[in-house]
């Protein structure tokens, strides 16, 4: 589970930035892009984000491997917008009830680019942020309760184990004659049974882990931190970069006259 989200041995520059700074930037860019549906602001943001890839230790290949569902969804969203949006300008394609005009195509492309430009920062954030660093930042800098943050972090480690356990229980049940064949109802029942088995194991594991943590003094009042979550000059650059991308997108769109607030 975790391996699917973060890159192992990632030494990109952005891995060293404070997770909260990266979070702030992703929030800012998403907010600005959510304000308008036009292709200019989205293209500018997207181009800037793609230029930042190497800094997060990401390549186009890795991006496709990790983010292809999002990318496909964005493309599909753009395509359907182009089809169903009200026509304006010259009609380019007309197949019965579906038609694509210059106006609707522009809207569709804007929609697709926007989807990508909003999705990419999130993918970037996940690939270059270690969950442990994120937890440290949330507890030490954002002052979230450490019981909650560290409890979640420890539980996340179990999620990966649960994925393995699901596979094992599936095999163990096949060895008992519970098949994944049969009618949809039978299959549903088999899946429910397997889920129950996993739930029992998850609870057992979780309570043992809770005992381990409690026996190591977890939950008692004041605690110190072996790893200090710090802000560095890099974080200032990350924030400045984020503001720059957002500003460039707005200015370019306003300059080209394409900026349109979504509520208008």
């Amino acid at each position: 589970m975790r391996d699917a989200l973060t890159l192992r041995n990632n030494h990109g520059l952005l891995t060293r930035a404070n997770p909260l700074a990266k979070f702030a930037v992703v929030f800012l860019i998403t907010l600005v892009l959510a304000l308008s549906i036009d292709w200019v602001s989205a293209s500018v943001a997207l181009a800037a984000e793609l230029a930042l890839f190497p800094l997060a230790g990401l390549t186009l290949r890795l991006l496709w491997q990790r983010g292809w569902p999002l990318i496909l969804a964005a493309a599909l969203g753009g395509w359907s917008t182009a089809i169903v949006a009200a026509d304006s300008g010259a009609v380019l394609l007309d197949v019965g009830i579906w038609s694509i005009s210059e106006g609707s195509l522009q809207l569709g492309i804007g929609f697709m680019l926007r989807g990508l430009a909003i999705a990419l920062p999130a993918i970037l954030l996940m690939t270059c942020t270690d969950p442990t660093d994120l937890a440290d930042a949330l507890a030490q800098k954002a002052r979230l309760p450490h019981r909650f943050v560290l409890g979640t972090l420890a539980a996340m480690r179990l999620v990966g184990l649960m994925a393995e356990e699901w596979q094992t229980i599936g095999m163990a049940r096949r060895a008992r004659g519970v098949g994944s064949q049969g009618s949809p109802l039978q299959r549903l029942r088999a899946t429910l049974g397997q889920s129950f088995g996993l739930l029992v194991q998850a609870i057992r594991r979780a309570s043992r882990l809770a005992i381990t943590m409690e026996a190591r003094g977890f939950g008692a009042g004041h605690r110190t931190w072996a790893r200090e979550s710090t802000y560095s000059r890099l974080d200032a650059w990350v924030l400045a970069g984020g503001v720059l991308i957002a500003a460039a997108a707005v200015v370019a769109a306003a300059g080209m006259g394409t900026w349109n607030f979504v509520w208008r």
Partner: protein, 539 residues
């Protein structure tokens, strides 16, 4: 050494004292422990023995200060003190290691995990990293020598050791338990509590952990209380053995004066005095191998199942974009033959892919390369590839007993559990009574499988698979963590099955167990690559 005398290592050994102590878990009618009187001097090393249900884990949990979250319904009697103070509220005075290595690891980076306990005790940062390095050294997971290093990421790979940011998920079971010990040591506890710390480990892992514990005790002088079935592992390390009896037997209405402590003394003395009693209670007494049934036939030797040049992995082929990537096999080039009435033992170090091979052979995983083929005598028209068989076809031909019995429970009642296979197949229900009797489960027919003891669960999981009457039985570490009685029953029962013509494939480190079953051995090499050959052993 007195209680106030902190050694050079900064550890002050703890004293334990129990007076008429008892504990009843919430929702239970009988107490887990009753009438315990026990004194443990600072620095003493105690091995705690007793049949399952004697409340050994309950005592360790109480000493670790983690009992009592059950609400008002739980019931405590008498007193249990560490250095004259109740254990709860003295966090860090004791450290507890449990059986399951996976749940002894809290964080995903080596150094962070060791630091976790010390952080919770509000130890200053520089001191934490000093302790982390020292503790990792002590347990043999060497890290950088100098203390005071900040942030794990800064410390690279060091002479023969692991970096502080090494992922804890990549450790073996024995390494995980040693890591847990390091995490405990970093708290500087005066009392170290080990609850069957090596029950889930292979023989190499057992010694790794035992030796690490010994080194740390020699250095810190901390008090030790360890619960473990295998006496020979710990006998030379402890200076006292305490045998407990179940709370239901101790201090009952019939004999209120009886203490929970049945025997107490130096290891040799207790083992000499109580040898027969301990053997009766299923304790692994040194130098004693339980009597088992001897094989009387060599088996017909008809070929049932064959693996040819097999490569195995638990991973499925992955989809990366539009491409499909086959998994990297954990082991390849395996060739093995499974014959009627003969045993095949699969051995090899941790991570050699033994279980993965067994699951592939049993038709539960698809081979990465090579093939598993069933002979006509076994397949009986179901096709050559066991992986393609339907679940019903599989269970009447190849039965697989998993390492964790709970993974295979599919109902809420022991009897239903046993009837499950025969009902699906539409025949064989008459075998169930015989299996119940043979594996001593008759008195448990109405119980919920999840509530059984470890030994009962193991016997049930074997019985449920056998109820479908498979010709081939595949077992994954069937003797892990089992007491001597269950061990002997299981080994004898399997030898009977073998003589009756069943084929038994077992993944095991247990040489005595393989000796009872006889047959051939398949030794898998340490890494991927390098073929594995099957050797005919003494049958």
């Amino acid at each position: 050494m007195t209680a106030s005398d902190a050694g050079a290592s900064g550890v002050r050994p703890a004293a334990v004292s129990a007076r008429g102590w008892g504990w009843r878990h919430a929702g239970r009618s009988a107490p887990a422990v009753r009438g315990l009187d026990l004194d443990i001097a600072p620095g003493e090393r105690v091995l705690l023995l007793g049949p399952s249900g004697a409340g050994k884990s309950t005592l360790l949990h109480a000493l670790a200060g983690v009992l009592g979250d059950e609400g008002d319904d739980a019931d405590e009697t008498g007193s249990l003190l560490i250095d004259g103070v109740v254990p709860r509220g003295q966090r860090g005075r004791s450290g507890l290691m449990q059986q399951d290595p996976e749940t002894q690891v809290v964080l995903s980076r080596l150094g962070d995990d060791v630091a976790f306990g010390a952080e919770n005790l509000a130890v200053p940062r520089d001191e934490i990293w000093r302790r982390v390095h020292e503790a990792l050294d002590d347990v043999g997971l060497r890290s950088a020598g100098g203390g005071g290093l900040n942030a794990g990421a800064g410390a690279g790979l060091n002479a023969g050791g692991l970096p502080l940011d090494h992922p804890t998920s990549a450790l073996s079971g024995g390494q995980k338990q040693r890591l847990a010990l390091a995490g405990i040591l970093a708290m500087r506890p005066g009392l170290i509590l080990l609850d069957e710390p090596t029950a889930n480990l292979d023989p190499a892992g057992v010694l790794e952990v035992r030796d690490a514990v010994g080194r740390c005790l020699d250095k810190t002088g901390a008090t030790l209380v360890v619960v473990e079935h295998r006496v020979s592992v710990w006998k030379d390390l402890v200076d006292r053995i305490v045998v407990l009896q179940p709370g239901s037997a101790a201090g009952s209405a019939a004999s209120p004066a009886t203490s929970a402590v049945l025997l107490d003394g130096p290891p040799d003395q207790v083992l000499a005095e109580a040898r027969d009693m301990l053997i009766g209670a299923g304790v692994w007494v040194p130098g004693y191998v339980p009597a088992t049934r001897r094989r009387v036939s060599a088996g017909s030797g008809d070929l049932l199942l064959a693996a040819e040049d097999l490569a195995v992995s638990r991973e499925r082929p992955r989809r990366r974009g539009f491409r499909t990537i086959p998994p990297v096999p954990v082991q390849q080039g395996i060739t093995a033959l499974v014959r009627s009435g003969q045993a095949l033992t699969v051995t090899g170090p941790n991570g050699a892919g033994k279980s993965t091979f067994a699951l592939t052979l049993a038709g539960l995983l698809a081979p990465v390369a090579g093939k598993v083929s069933a002979a006509v005598e076994l397949s009986e028209g179901a096709g050559i590839d066991p992986f393609k068989w339907k679940a019903n076809q599989l269970i009447s031909r190849i039965g697989t007993v998993f390492q964790e019995p709970e993974h295979q429970f599919v109902t809420g009642r022991v009897l239903d559990e046993l009837m499950f296979g025969p009902r699906h197949l539409g025949h064989g229900e008459e075998r169930v009574d015989e299996l119940l009797e043979r594996l001593r489960l008759t008195h448990l027919v109405d119980a919920n499988p999840y509530t059984l003891s470890g030994g009962e669960k193991r016997r049930l999981s074997v019985a449920t698979v056998l109820a479908a009457h498979p010709r081939v039985l595949v077992l994954d570490e069937p003797t892990f963590g089992q007491d001597a009685n269950t061990w002997a029953e299981l080994a004898s029962f399997l030898s009977e099955l073998l003589d009756a013509g069943t084929s038994v494939v077992s993944v095991t480190h247990d040489q005595e167990f393989s000796a009872v079953l006889g047959g051939a051995e398949l030794r898998l090499g340490p890494a991927s690559r390098g073929g594995a050959r099957q050797e005919a052993g003494a049958a």
